[in-house]
C-alpha cells in the first residue's frame, strides 16, 4: 500500500529524473556546503547564479552555447573572489558582494545595449525547474557530483587544513592559495550545473541549510559532512513526495522541508546549549 503510494509518481520519467536530481544535488551541495557554512559565505550560491546570468548574456550576444558562458563567468568570478580576498585583504563576503553586484550589473547593461530585436527571457535559462530535468542534465550532475566528491575526498586533509588554519598550512608548505581557489572553482561549477538544472532557490538552500543542520549536531568536520549529505538527501526525498501529494511546486517544498528539519534539530538538539555558549563566546 505504502509502496504503491511511493511508486505512483515514479511512473513518470520526468518525475523520476526530478527526484534523482534533487537527491544528487542535496548530497553534492551539502558536501561543499560544509565549507560554505563554516567559512561563512552562505550567499555565494545566489551570487554565482546571478553572475552566471551575465555569462549567458555574453554567450547570447557572442553566439556560443549558453551553458559554456554561464560556466566561464562563474568560474572566473569564483577565482576573482579568491583573489580579491587574498590580494586586497578583504573578507570573503565583501569580495562576493563586490563581484556579485558588479558582474550582475554588467549583465543587465549588456543585455539592454546588445539585444535590440526579439528578446528571449534569458533569466529563464539561468533558473531551471526541477520538473524539467533532461536526461543530459542528470548525466552532467552525476558526472560533476562524482568529480566533486572524489576531489574533495582526495584532498580532504589539505582542504581542511588550508581552510581552517591557513597560517599553519602555509608554514608547512601547502599551496594554500591554490587550494582555496580550487575549492572556489569546484563550488562555481557545482552551482552553475545545479542552478540551471533545478533552480536557484533550491541550490542556495542546499548549500547552506543541511550543513547548518548538521553543524547543530556535531563539531567533527567529517561527521558534519556526512550528516549534511544525509539531511540534504532526506529533504529532497520528503520534499519531493510532499510536493506531489500536496500538489505544490517541488523546488520550494524541498527547501521548506530542509528548513523545517533545521528548526526541528535546533529545538531538539542536545548540543543546543553548548551552541549558545559557543556563540556567546
Amino acid at each position: 500500500m505504502l509502496v504503491e503510494l511511493l511508486l505512483e509518481p515514479l511512473r513518470y520519467g520526468f518525475l523520476l529524473r526530478g527526484l534523482a536530481a534533487a537527491v544528487l544535488i542535496g548530497v553534492i551541495c551539502a558536501v561543499i556546503g560544509t565549507y560554505v557554512v563554516l567559512k561563512g559565505f552562505a550567499f555565494i550560491g545566489d551570487a554565482l547564479a546571478h553572475i552566471a546570468f551575465t555569462g549567458i548574456v555574453v554567450a547570447f550576444l557572442a553566439g556560443f552555447v549558453f551553458y559554456l558562458g554561464a560556466l566561464m563567468a562563474a568560474v572566473a568570478a569564483g577565482l576573482g573572489i579568491g583573489l580579491i580576498q587574498r590580494r586586497v585583504g578583504l573578507r570573503t563576503d565583501t569580495a562576493i558582494g563586490i563581484l556579485f553586484s558588479g558582474i550582475f550589473a554588467l549583465g543587465i547593461v549588456l543585455m539592454s545595449v546588445g539585444i535590440k530585436t526579439y528578446t528571449v527571457d534569458l533569466f529563464s535559462y539561468v533558473f531551471g525547474d526541477i520538473l524539467s530535468v533532461r536526461p543530459s542534465d542528470l548525466l552532467v550532475i552525476l558526472g560533476l557530483g562524482g568529480l566533486v566528491l572524489v576531489l574533495i575526498g582526495l584532498l580532504y586533509k589539505e582542504l581542511l587544513f588550508v581552510n581552517f588554519d591557513p597560517v599553519a598550512a602555509e608554514a608547512t608548505g601547502l599551496p594554500a592559495g591554490a587550494l582555496q581557489l580550487f575549492l572556489l572553482t569546484l563550488l562555481s561549477i557545482t552551482v552553475v550545473a545545479s542552478v540551471q538544472a533545478v533552480g536557484v532557490v533550491l541550490v542556495v538552500a542546499m548549500l547552506v541549510t543541511p550543513s547548518a543542520t548538521a553543524y547543530l549536531l556535531t563539531d567533527r568536520f567529517h561527521r558534519m559532512t556526512l550528516l549534511g549529505a544525509g539531511f540534504g538527501a532526506l529533504s529532497a526525498v520528503i520534499g519531493f513526495y510532499l510536493s506531489y501529494f500536496l500538489n505544490v511546486p517541488s523546488g520550494g517544498t524541498i527547501v521548506l522541508v530542509a528548513s523545517a528539519l533545521f528548526a526541528l534539530v535546533a529545538v531538539l538538539s542536545p548540543r543546543r546549549g553548548q551552541l549558545r555558549l559557543l556563540v556567546r563566546g
Partner: protein, 340 residues
C-alpha cells in the same frame, strides 16, 4: 540622570539614525539603478514611416507590440506608434520605466487591451499625469471565463488557489481576445473610431484604412479556416505554454486540452504536470506549443515524456518584420504542421 549615561544613549540613537539613513539611501540607489538599467531599452519597433512632419502626427502609445501593426494599419502616416512593453517581454509581469511614463505623458491617445492584462498600467497613467484618452480595446467584449482546462475528476482543494490567483491577476475573463480574428476586427474598428475622435481631419483616411485592413483580416481568416480543415477532426487538440489561446482555439474549432503553466512565472506542481501528461496520452494530442520568449525546457520535458512534437505560437509580439496578420499566419501554419 548623570551625563555619563545620557551620552552613550545619544550615541546609540545617532547610530540608529545613521543606520536608517544608510538603509534609505541604499533603497533609493537600488531603485534608481533598477530604473537606469531599463532606461535604454531595445527600440520598441516604432513606426518605420518617420515622415518629416513628425510634429503633426498623432502620438499613439499601445501596451503590447502586437497592437502596433493594428494601429499603423489604420493610421498610416498620420500616426506614430510606440509600445510600452518591449518586443518579446511578458506583459503580465512587466515593470514600467521612466521612459514609459514620458511616452504616456506625451501621448495623444493610449490603446491597451484591458481585462487586467496590464495590471501595472493604471498607476503609471495616473503617475504620468497623462490627459490622453485611454481606450480599452477588449472592453465589453464577450470573454471566456478562466476555468481550469485540465478537467480532472481528482481535483484537490489546493488546485483552486492558483486558479484563483490567475483570475485575480487577469480580472474578469481571459484577456487574450485579439488572437481571434473576429475580435481583432473589433479592435481595428475601435482603433479607427478613437483615432477619428482625436484627429477628425483624418477621419476618411482612418475609415478607408480600417475597411481595407478588416478585409485583409477576413481574407486571412478564410484561408486559415481552410488550412485547419486539413487537420483530421480527432487531432484538433491544443496544449499551450500559458493560457493565451482559448479564443484562437474556439474560433478555429480546436479543443484546448491543457496549459503547462497557468500564468508565466508560476511553477507547476508535479501532479499538475503528471495529469497533463496523462491527458496528452489519453486524448492523443499530437503536439505541444510553446511561446518563443519562454525557455522551452518544460515543454520539451513533457514532449519527451509523451513522445509528441514541440512547436511555437506567438501571442503578444509578432515575429520580427511581421504584422498582426503575419503573426496569425505563422500561428495557423504551426498548428497545421503540428497537428496534421
Amino acid at each position: 540622570m548623570p551625563k555619563g549615561v545620557q551620552r552613550p544613549m545619544a550615541r546609540e540613537s545617532w547610530m540608529a539614525e545613521r543606520l536608517r539613513c544608510s538603509y534609505l539611501l541604499a533603497l533609493v540607489v537600488a531603485v534608481l539603478l533598477a530604473a537606469c538599467s531599463r532606461t535604454a531599452p531595445p527600440p520598441r519597433e516604432a513606426s518605420p514611416a518617420t515622415t518629416p512632419a513628425a510634429g503633426n502626427q498623432v502620438r499613439v502609445v499601445v501596451s503590447l507590440p502586437v497592437f502596433i501593426s493594428l494601429v499603423e494599419a489604420v493610421g498610416g502616416d498620420r500616426v506614430r506608434v510606440s509600445s510600452l512593453v518591449p518586443a518579446g517581454t511578458d506583459p503580465h509581469t512587466y515593470q514600467p520605466t521612466p521612459r514609459d511614463a514620458q511616452a504616456l505623458a506625451e501621448a495623444d491617445v493610449v490603446f491597451v487591451n484591458g481585462l487586467g492584462l496590464e495590471g501595472w498600467l493604471g498607476d503609471l497613467i495616473t503617475a504620468a499625469g497623462s490627459g490622453a484618452p485611454v481606450v480599452e480595446l477588449a472592453e465589453g467584449l464577450q470573454t471566456i471565463p478562466e476555468e481550469p482546462h485540465q478537467g480532472t475528476p481528482e481535483t484537490t482543494p489546493g488546485q483552486s488557489t492558483p486558479q484563483g490567483e490567475h483570475t485575480h491577476e487577469h480580472g474578469a475573463g481571459n484577456p487574450h481576445l485579439w488572437l481571434d480574428p473576429d475580435y481583432a476586427i473589433e479592435y481595428v474598428r475601435r482603433i479607427a473610431q478613437s483615432l477619428e475622435e482625436v484627429d477628425s481631419g483624418g477621419a476618411s483616411t482612418y475609415q478607408t484604412n480600417a475597411e481595407r485592413y478588416i478585409a485583409e483580416i477576413q481574407a486571412f481568416d478564410a484561408w486559415a479556416k481552410g488550412q485547419v480543415q486539413r487537420i483530421p477532426p480527432a487531432r484538433r487538440k491544443l496544449v499551450t505554454f500559458h493560457d493565451a489561446f482559448p479564443y484562437f482555439a474556439e474560433h478555429y474549432g480546436l479543443e484546448l486540452v491543457g496549459v503547462i503553466v497557468l500564468s508565466p512565472g508560476r511553477e507547476p506542481s508535479p501532479q499538475e504536470l503528471a495529469q497533463l501528461v496523462d491527458l496528452i496520452r489519453q486524448q492523443g494530442v499530437p503536439a505541444i506549443f510553446t511561446e518563443p520568449q519562454f525557455n522551452p525546457k518544460l515543454a520539451e520535458t513533457l514532449a519527451r515524456e509523451t513522445g509528441v512534437k514541440v512547436l511555437e505560437l506567438y501571442s503578444d509580439t509578432p515575429p520580427t518584420g511581421e504584422d498582426y496578420i503575419g503573426m496569425m499566419r505563422r500561428n495557423v501554419e504551426h498548428v497545421v504542421e503540428g497537428l496534421e
